[in-house]
Amino acid sequence: MSKYYVNKFLFTVDRDPQYLKRYAEDPRSFVATWEQSIGPKLNDAETSRVHTFTQAEREALINHDYVALFEMGAHFFLNLTIFIGIYDEPYMAKDGPLAFQKEFARKLQHWKGRDYPSVET
């Protein structure tokens, strides 16, 4: 498991409008590309391949499965903002302000009153 690498995915994609668009439109293809050529980048000249996703992490990212990502200990802020970036507008158009954020909370209700999975990396 690499919480760090999952967070790196969320971080690098949320901050880049082109990556975000590709992740929204074709997540399976984009996650594969990310693993091949975006995730390993340290800077324009250097790469590192010490981190990899588990199959469960890869599937959670492909499925936009923010519940699974929460349960793996992905950072709550990154896990929220990237999916707001993808789903806020369509949900708002259909069901009004904060519709996506409230559904996100509803799907995590089974964690209420419990210690959440640690986001420490």
């Binding site: 790196k8 340290l42 950072h75 709550f76 996100f104 909370a105 964690w111 209420k112 959440y116």
Partner: protein, 286 residues
């Protein structure tokens, strides 16, 4: 020596600008009251006629990430760009360019190192909404140089509440010792109880209204002993997974000193309690 003229500590709400500037018929019902409260709070700074703003905030994984994550960081530049693409996208916050004060940043950095705070520093810091929100609310003219200080309230392990308070005391001492005739205001933002990306987010109130009420009372009284006795990393997590932003309030109380606040206001908004505090100096830091 420089003079600390005010210490401000408040919540930062990234939707303030959008919520109060959209067409009136689309605004939330609390928007006019929110705007009135912010503009009244703004006056508590304006009347002190500051020359430099020492600003305490926390990057939200905009510039700083887990590959290289400082607990405390100071910006040292002539100027700072502000607002990242994903903040424009999500909150509608515009780009800003802030003036810096490299001389005071350099003095502050060395002084804090001498007081055993091993600060990271950046000569290329881009500011995020933790510092832009208070520019928008309390100094929208954006006419003053800033000394930005970032704390880690986000990526555990975090420093203790005591350490945050002690850092506030150290920042106060550095301001008091700064060899300049400038008038300094210290402005910091954080959160009361807050949940983001969890089951208690975006409810009708903040996730822990009892904590919010208690925290406002502690800050109003300047009761650092009660805060340090009651607030732990675990208690904050129990009040909401992003409640650790309260650490910045503790830091700002350290800047002000354990004094009764001169100005206190709050506003119960959907999903958060907003709170606004100002202290005017009554003592020199020890």
């Amino acid at each position: 020596m420089a003079e600390l003229v005010a210490t401000l500590a408040s919540t930062h709400h990234p939707f303030y600008l959008k919520a109060t500037t959209m067409p009136a018929e689309q605004q939330m019902p609390q928007a006019p009251e929110w705007k009135r409260k912010i503009e009244a709070y703004r006056e508590t700074l304006a009347r002190t006629r500051p020359d430099i703003l020492v600003m305490v905030g926390s990057d939200h994984f905009h510039q700083i990430f887990l590959d290289n994550c400082p607990q405390f960081l100071i910006g040292k530049s002539e100027a700072y760009d502000a607002t990242f693409y994903n903040e424009e996208r999500e909150f509608g916050i515009p780009k800003f360019l802030l003036k810096g004060d490299p001389d005071m940043s350099g003095f502050m950095h060395r002084h804090l190192m001498d007081q055993n705070f091993d600060f990271a520093f950046s000569n290329d810091l881009k500011i995020d909404h933790s510092i832009i929100c208070p520019i928008i609310t309390v100094r929208p003219t954006n006419d003053l140089p800033v000394v930005p200080i970032y704390t880690n309230i986000f990526a555990p392990p975090l420093q203790s509440p005591q350490r945050f308070y002690d850092l506030g005391r150290a920042i106060r001492k550095a301001i008091d010792d700064y060899p300049s005739d400038k008038r300094i205001a210290a402005i910091g933002t954080g959160h009361l109880s807050l949940e983001l990306g969890g089951p208690r987010q975006f409810m009708e109130t903040g996730p822990d209204p009892e904590f919010d009420r208690q925290a406002i009372e502690w800050l109003r009284q300047g009761d650092i002993d009660a805060i340090l006795h009651n607030v732990t990393h675990q208690s904050m997590a129990g009040s909401g997974n992003a409640t650790h932003g309260f650490l910045n309030f503790i830091l700002m109380l350290g800047v002000a000193g354990p004094e009764v606040a001169d100005y206190v206001d709050n506003l119960d908004l959907f999903h958060t309690m907003e709170a606004y505090f100002t202290w005017y100096p009554k003592e020199q830091a020890a």
